[in-house]
Symmetry: C2
Subunit: 297 residues, 2 copies
Amino acid sequence: MERKDEIKYWFRGLQSSIIQALEKEDGSGIFSEEHWERPGGGGGITRLLKDGSVIEKGGVNFSAVHGETPEPIKRSFQSDAKDFFATGVSIVIHSRNPFVPIIHMNVRYFELSDGNSWFGGGIDLTPSYVFHEDGVFFHSALKEVCDQFDMSWYPQYKSQADSYFYIRHRNETRGIGGIFYDRLAAKEPENFAKLWEFTKQVGSAFAPIYTTLMARRKDTPFTPEQKFWQLHRRSRYVEFNLVYDAGTKFGLETNGRVESILMSLPPMACWESNYVPTKNSPEFESQKYFDNSTDWI
Amino acid sequence: MERKDEIKYWFRGLQSSIIQALEKEDGSGIFSEEHWERPGGGGGITRLLKDGSVIEKGGVNFSAVHGETPEPIKRSFQSDAKDFFATGVSIVIHSRNPFVPIIHMNVRYFELSDGNSWFGGGIDLTPSYVFHEDGVFFHSALKEVCDQFDMSWYPQYKSQADSYFYIRHRNETRGIGGIFYDRLAAKEPENFAKLWEFTKQVGSAFAPIYTTLMARRKDTPFTPEQKFWQLHRRSRYVEFNLVYDAGTKFGLETNGRVESILMSLPPMACWESNYVPTKNSPEFESQKYFDNSTDWI
């Protein structure tokens, strides 16, 4: 089997197994399923869950597209390769309970007909209320995955997540980071083998990590004021995704599938002008974490 | 009195008179008042209303800033002028009742120390539910202002608003347009006189236009479903402002006052994936207007 087929089928299986794990932990929500085709070649499966018991809105998307290399991709990769192939799984989950964090994952593989290929991806967490022990659990799980391959990867990819998920105009982070890596070259067979195994481990780590956090926080009662804090933090999530997120920008500029690109946006968000949490409140304590200063491990 | 002082004082008065008119029509809401200073020179007055009877969130901002010309402005105007001066009034009103439209106005004057100066601005309307007669009323009022100066202005500036307030990735307009004009050169005295009078007329037209629409729609009862449609349309407003709006982009990139720049964002918005209004519903009929095809007059 060709590399790209192997990866595509594995990603498609990953999508299914993540769906299963999320539906089980949610308890009532069911993901809808939409198959789509890309006019230029390939397609994908969009799976959405609305109004579950724990998940207020979640998307788990798989795609595998190919065809003539679009101009923006040629420019971005400084390549004249005639054809491209791209496959990946993208996830954003918005929880109903403000104590259950938002999570985002992306694993992707990209290949050009000139023989070059790359892996990219990561997982990051955006809690409204930051529980230190959840941050430690989350970052430890990611470090464990990275450390199997290279002891330098966790610190490097954690630092890249910190830089990437930063809302410049607010001087704050989107959440508490995670790992983020991009354009890891996979042309040489030994690189490919290592990066592909790493990608599989990252993808496989998602469900156990997130269902643990769901289970830990989903039954905590919350007040309307705590829900408001979540809606307020979600507004920052919207700002990051629409103003800075490279994938969103690229997707919108290249006439991607709008509903798939913007499935990352929360079901509801609030903008209250000049909102500042009361000193020493739980919201105030959480806000302190949004500055990249925490060394979780 | 220098041109720039004349304009600055008039704009400041405009802010006050608009506040008065809006508070009167709202009936209970009071605008807060915050004076701020710009480190490099000048400052402004931010006035915000939260949770009024009609206005859910509204901002009426005045600013007059000056100093050393920032690099992005030099690039944008292809000028090496040492100093700049900019003054303006910016308004965005989000109403509680889904039948009262969102309105946006901006009038501004910009001057460089090389002797060049420009006016820009406009008013545009974003109803969730489009009432044809309100659109006709709104556009007629703007046409009346323009026609006093030049019969070609209304068609030209209406068309510029149609192009500007367009959400490319959704293939839809933000609302039903209005007028939009930018960089009208005011160096020659006769141009200045005409454009300054025009600016004053646009600014003065705002309060009577919007209070008429408030009065017309504020007492119409509405259902939670109708409120949802408004929250849905507001999500498009957010997308436009964060992805395309030139002023927002410029402000965020040049480290402007974030809360003033983003006061345009709605108090609350909803993103529901794949939402499409039921055929022939009032929402469906309103959606049809978001395609720039309407000739209101």
